[in-house]
């Protein structure tokens, strides 16, 4: 939509989004460090900061990963999806703070370069109990950096959408690495089951939502495949058809007018019996398809003119599956009643 790349194309929605995000983050960090210091006066400040940033990053990542499937399951979550890239960049920044503080705390001021120390201080790569979990976090941070650095539309355009999308699917690799980072690190260090429970619940929610969305997609795909196997032909998203109007499609040589009206869809021949006028260019008036040329009318579900008129046109079987219209190319005899397809209350958004 824009012709020039700005760092951020600000608008009111994005500003609100980011203010809310920032506020929740400040609340979390202040609560964690503040209450943490009050309740644990012996804790060193660096420890609380490392934990605050680390847990906030993982919480954010869980939210980021939930937004996608939620938006597919319920369109009301689309506002959360709109500016998800800022959530993603923020997740990276929190992770960077966590990693940075940890690198300083555990690896700096020693006899090795901190980054080198990160990789060699714990040589027990062959052990499960003593595996150097820090390396997992480090790799995950690199992935999050790659994603954050390429989150701008500039990269979307120049990498091409498929490549960009593949890169950003690496978020799931990062997520798995971080879960392992937590399991092999903090979870082994903490005696309480609270942390393990919170982690399990978080991962379970992410997985459940993805499975639910995948199952729904699978059900939709199966229904569409079934329709195709029955000989139906996909026409278009139902949203593409204006109310009481039609779209025209050529199906196996037949010109078909697909009408949408009162939450229903019907398909009839596009050819008016009176001088072959294009019915698809007409409108539904008083419940009847009305030819734009001379006003001849036909009921959409039967293709028959209302009494006392006698004209009839062929009708076609029609289905709407998750917001997509399918039409069977075999015409029914003129005047044959066909049950209208129902437009689902929840209309699929295409983007």
């Amino acid at each position: 939509m824009s012709v020039q790349y700005g760092a951020i194309g600000w608008n009111r929605q994005k500003k609100i989004y980011d203010v809310v995000l920032g506020s929740l983050l400040v609340i979390y960090l202040a609560l964690f460090v503040g209450v943490g210091a009050l309740v644990n006066p012996n804790a060193t400040a660096e420890t609380l900061l490392i934990r605050a940033f680390g847990t906030s990053a993982f919480l954010l990542l869980n939210i980021v990963l939930c937004i996608g499937p939620l938006a597919r399951l319920d369109r009301r979550f689309l506002p959360l999806l709109y500016n998800r890239r800022h959530l993603g960049v923020t997740t990276f920044l929190m992770s960077l703070a966590h990693g940075g503080f940890a690198l300083f705390q555990f690896h700096a001021l020693g006899n090795l370069n901190p980054l080198l120390s990160l990789l060699v201080s714990n040589p027990r790569y062959g052990s499960v109990a003593d595996f150097p979990f820090q390396a997992l976090g480090f790799v995950a941070l690199l992935i999050l950096f790659l994603m954050a650095a390429t989150s701008h539309d500039f990269w979307l355009r120049n990498l091409s959408a498929p490549t960009w999308k593949r890169l950003h699917m690496m978020v799931y690799v990062a997520y798995a690495l971080l879960v392992a980072h937590i399991v092999l690190g903090a979870l082994q260090s903490e005696a309480s089951s609270i942390l393990a429970s919170v982690l399990v619940v978080g991962v379970a929610i992410v997985l459940s939502l993805h499975l639910a969305a995948a199952l729904r997609e699978k059900t939709i795909d199966r229904a569409k495949l079934h329709a195709t196997e029955e000989g139906f032909v996909e026409v278009c998203p139902v949203d593409r058809i204006s109310e009481k109007c039609a779209t025209m499609v050529s199906v196996s040589g037949e010109r078909v007018a697909v009408f949408r009206y009162e939450g229903k869809v019907s398909a009839i021949s596009n050819v008016c019996q009176h001088q072959n006028g294009p019915l698809g260019e007409g409108r539904i008036i008083d419940g009847c398809v009305t030819c734009p040329w001379h006003g001849y009318q036909y009921r959409p579900e039967t293709g028959a003119a209302p009494a006392p008129f006698k004209e009839k046109v062929p009708t076609f079987l029609v289905k709407v599956i998750e917001g997509t219209v399918f039409v069977h190319p075999k015409p029914n005899a003129p005047g044959t009643y066909v049950e209208p397809a129902q437009v689902e209350c929840r209309e699929e958004q295409t983007r």
Binding site: V35, R51, R76, N111, S117, S189, A191
Partner: protein, 262 residues
């Protein structure tokens, strides 16, 4: 289509905005709940201290075997074994005090530093360049008492972090730091799980261990068999790194920091 969302329009549809507002409020509550829950789930932090920024002055005799210590006279004490307190010495960062005190061994000095202490054991982080010579004093010979040959379960840590520079200063999360500290010359200590007693680790010859000898064994529960002996008020434990073995492996193996006693 009145609930169709277009992000760049100034205002979202009313019903959708109301729903989103509810979601955000829910997220805020979740945020607070998770923060408090995670705080609640932390291991307790043991009482330990690093008086960072609080410079003090100390006087005593420096000794370097097996690890650098400052012997500080206890006024009024006459019994040979009780005449001195021993403070382990370390340099800033993850470095032992060996380099700082070379040239001062056996001498009576005054030095500046910051205290680090836990469970009755105290350490001084030396301020570099602060060591000055005091009047000459005969270095004391501390009596050494062999106590017993023991087998104990515990954890190897670096003394500086454990005593208070980091909290927690033990356990798996701290492992890399302990590795760096030991490699830098910080004295290694062994914490007995049952008693939380601290033992300075030395080789079977009673001398300081090679700095990286224990790197592979920090921050995991270990069984050590060695000789315990006391020198002054220090407790030392001999260890042969060649004989150390890793405990059975597995995801459920505990790697907790050492918990404070109740």
């Amino acid at each position: 289509m009145n609930d169709f969302y277009v992000g760049y329009l100034p205002k979202a549809p009313t019903e959708l905005a109301r729903f989103t507002r509810r979601v955000v409020i829910g997220l805020a509550l979740v945020t607070v709940a998770i923060a408090l829950l995670l705080l609640r789930g932390q291991n307790p932090f043991p009482p330990s201290a690093f008086e960072f920024g609080k410079a003090r002055s100390f006087e005593g005799v420096i000794q370097a075997q097996p690890y650098a210590v400052l012997l500080v006279a206890r006024p009024g004490q006459t019994a040979a074994e009780d005449r001195y307190s021993e403070y382990l010495l370390v340099a800033p960062g993850k470095h032992g005090a060996g380099d700082l005190v070379s040239g001062w061994v056996g001498k009576s000095v005054r030095l500046g530093g910051q205290l680090i202490y836990r469970d009755g054991v105290t350490m001084i982080e030396i301020e570099p360049g602060s060591i000055t010579l005091r009047e000459s004093e005969t270095p004391p010979a501390l009596p050494t008492r062999s106590v017993d040959v023991v087998t104990m379960t515990g954890e190897i840590v670096d003394s500086k972090c454990y005593l208070g520079v980091m909290n927690p200063g033990s356990g798996k999360v701290h492992r890399d730091c302990a590795s760096r500290c030991l490699s830098g010359g910080i004295p290694p200590i062994f914490i007995a799980i049952a008693t939380h007693k601290q033992f300075l680790l030395v080789g079977t010859d009673g001398k300081a261990l090679n700095r990286d000898a224990l790197r592979e064994f920090v921050a995991e529960p270990l069984i050590i068999q060695g000789e315990v002996f006391e020198r002054g008020d220090q407790h030392l434990l001999t260890v042969d790194p060649q004989l150390l073995k890793h405990q059975p492996d597995g995801l459920t193996a505990s790697r907790h920091p050492i918990q404070p006693r109740r």
